[in-house]
Symmetry: C2
């Protein structure tokens, strides 16, 4: 049977993995950006792992090895930050091609260490092997103050849905490259995680949090699924950068689609009680309100051009 | 520059990674089977990661998906056991081919869970993506009683070098497959880690410990390097199974070479003070003495047919 026949490998893995694990040391297993384990009196241990494959997550035509190394670290850091945590220790597995040069590896590691140093991460182990394409895996351990842990499941009715920075820039860059057009590629070639400090400030005031790896639409769905909630997203309020709008103009595509269904922006999506918005703004202001958490019965919808778009009817969760 | 020009990627990674990490929470970073971190009052946290690539670590011509899944778990478990630890939590990253069937994935996960259940491991996360070949990565967390932690660096002069079970069976199976010959393939197709219970019993009496992933010769060298010691290995005392000898006869090859330079046997190599041998035998007897730890100035040598073979002269560390 083809994997597509049962809804893709996301659904398949869900079926194949045992979600019901009973262990008092496990605060959260499968189903969030990180697993959460009991650790010290004040802290939980966080663990995340992300794999990048050549010509899927990067291309040696477009990315320098330095950029590939940096991306490997940043996408994992983002998972720790989105839980309210601090990244700590990295374990790197590489499958490299037989003709890989020393210079390529030096640049790859320079990118890895550049990001590691920025986020105070130590590299403590790994594995290196051979393949016919580059495959890179990073496992990152981190810790989080117990009271700062923010799960996808913590959203509450009437929370405002907010997003840091702006969205769609990574997808805009990818589309430009695919069409051989000029424009700003930085957000695609060098995605950056938000910092530990920013994540912790937001965590103080927010309920649920997640990072944008698959697009705003998908991230809001994850929060709603895990919190048993519904949501409305205000399309026109999704923040876009000037360069993303320029890119989408030159491509003749809708930049809001990049933000909703594109992904790899690694901004933070969080839900926050209305009364905490002003408090947060005093400490961190680079965010916008893009929606609201509703009761589950309302489902998830997109408000665009004064119309309410439902899933499958102008609005897709995973388009 | 080619990686081979600077001594292979093992040497390259050594150069590229920062071995001098200063952090009071790190008991051991790069350079052992697992990283060792501060954890609870009585225990350390262990972390290991291993990557398997199609046509390098397994072949879908020879291995069933069930066997591939089991191997992925067992090779990581073996790293935890060899530190005196208990495996606990696994994180699995898979890069799968586009035409992968549901049935293949079900069998792969059945193998993963079969081994996980045997060793009391819970699967808490992972990542699934696409590639043109199968690449599988597993990160395994475990814990170890502080007094049972056994590092490669703990060998002492005059310790006896011992090995559990028998060696060379995995390489014998691989060679048979490569030559299209019949014989016992189980040790190659279904490598098994020693159990947590066995590892802990040995850890009570042993000084240094490591598992056989690259062959006895290489593992003894790792222990000597990390402990600043030399060693002599008694070739004729290396335990071989009847089927390994049969296979080597039919291949017209030396079975001791399989044991010394083959690898993937996942038996335990440990160094133990002579006076502890009898105590260990009362609790666990499936081991043989195959050598002795010497002072560093003696280097590492192999005693074979009453001759002393030095590295590069009849004896290679990584042949």
């Amino acid at each position: 049977m083809k994997i597509s026949e049962i809804g893709g490998e996301f659904e398949l893995i869900k079926r194949l993995t045992d979600k019901e694990v009973r262990d008092p040391d496990i605060i959260k297993g499968i189903g969030d950006d990180c697993a959460v384990l009991r650790y010290t009196k004040e802290k939980y241990l966080l663990i995340t792992t992300d794999m990048m494959v050549e010509d899927d997550h990067f291309s040696i035509k477009w990315h320098t090895p330095f950029q590939i190394g940096m991306k490997l670290m940043e996408i994992n850091v983002s998972d720790i930050i989105s839980m309210g945590g601090s990244p700590k220790y990295a374990f790197i597995s590489l499958s490299i091609k037989k003709d890989t040069t020393v210079e390529f590896m030096e640049e790859l590691y320079r990118g890895i260490y550049e990001s590691a140093k920025k986020h105070n991460i130590l590299i403590l182990g790994g594995d290196t092997t051979h393949g016919t394409e580059y495959t890179l895996n990073l496992t990152l351990l981190g810790e989080v103050d117990k009271q700062l842990l923010r799960l996808r499941s913590m959203a509450k009715v009437n929370d405002l849905i907010c997003v840091t920075g702006n969205l769609g820039g990574s997808t805009a860059g990818l589309k430009l490259l695919l069409k051989n057009k000029k424009g700003n590629l930085t957000k695609y070639l060098e995605p950056k995680s938000r910092t530990e400090k920013e994540g912790k400030i937001i965590a103080k005031y927010a309920n649920a949090m997640i990072d944008v790896s698959d697009g705003l639409s998908s991230e809001v769905k994850h929060i709603c699924d895990e919190s048993s909630m519904g949501a409305e997203i205000y399309s026109e309020r999704i923040p876009l950068s000037k360069t993303t709008i320029e890119s989408s103009d030159s491509l003749n595509l809708d930049p809001y689609d990049f933000a909703l269904y594109g992904g790899e922006d690694f901004e933070l999506v969080f839900t926050i009680p209305k009364e905490n918005i002003e408090k947060l703004k005093k400490e961190f202001s680079d965010f916008n309100v893009v929606g609201r958490i509703l009761e589950k019965k309302n489902g998830i919808c997109l408000l665009k051009d004064n119309k309410k778009l439902e899933p499958g009817k102008g609005f897709d969760h995973f388009a």
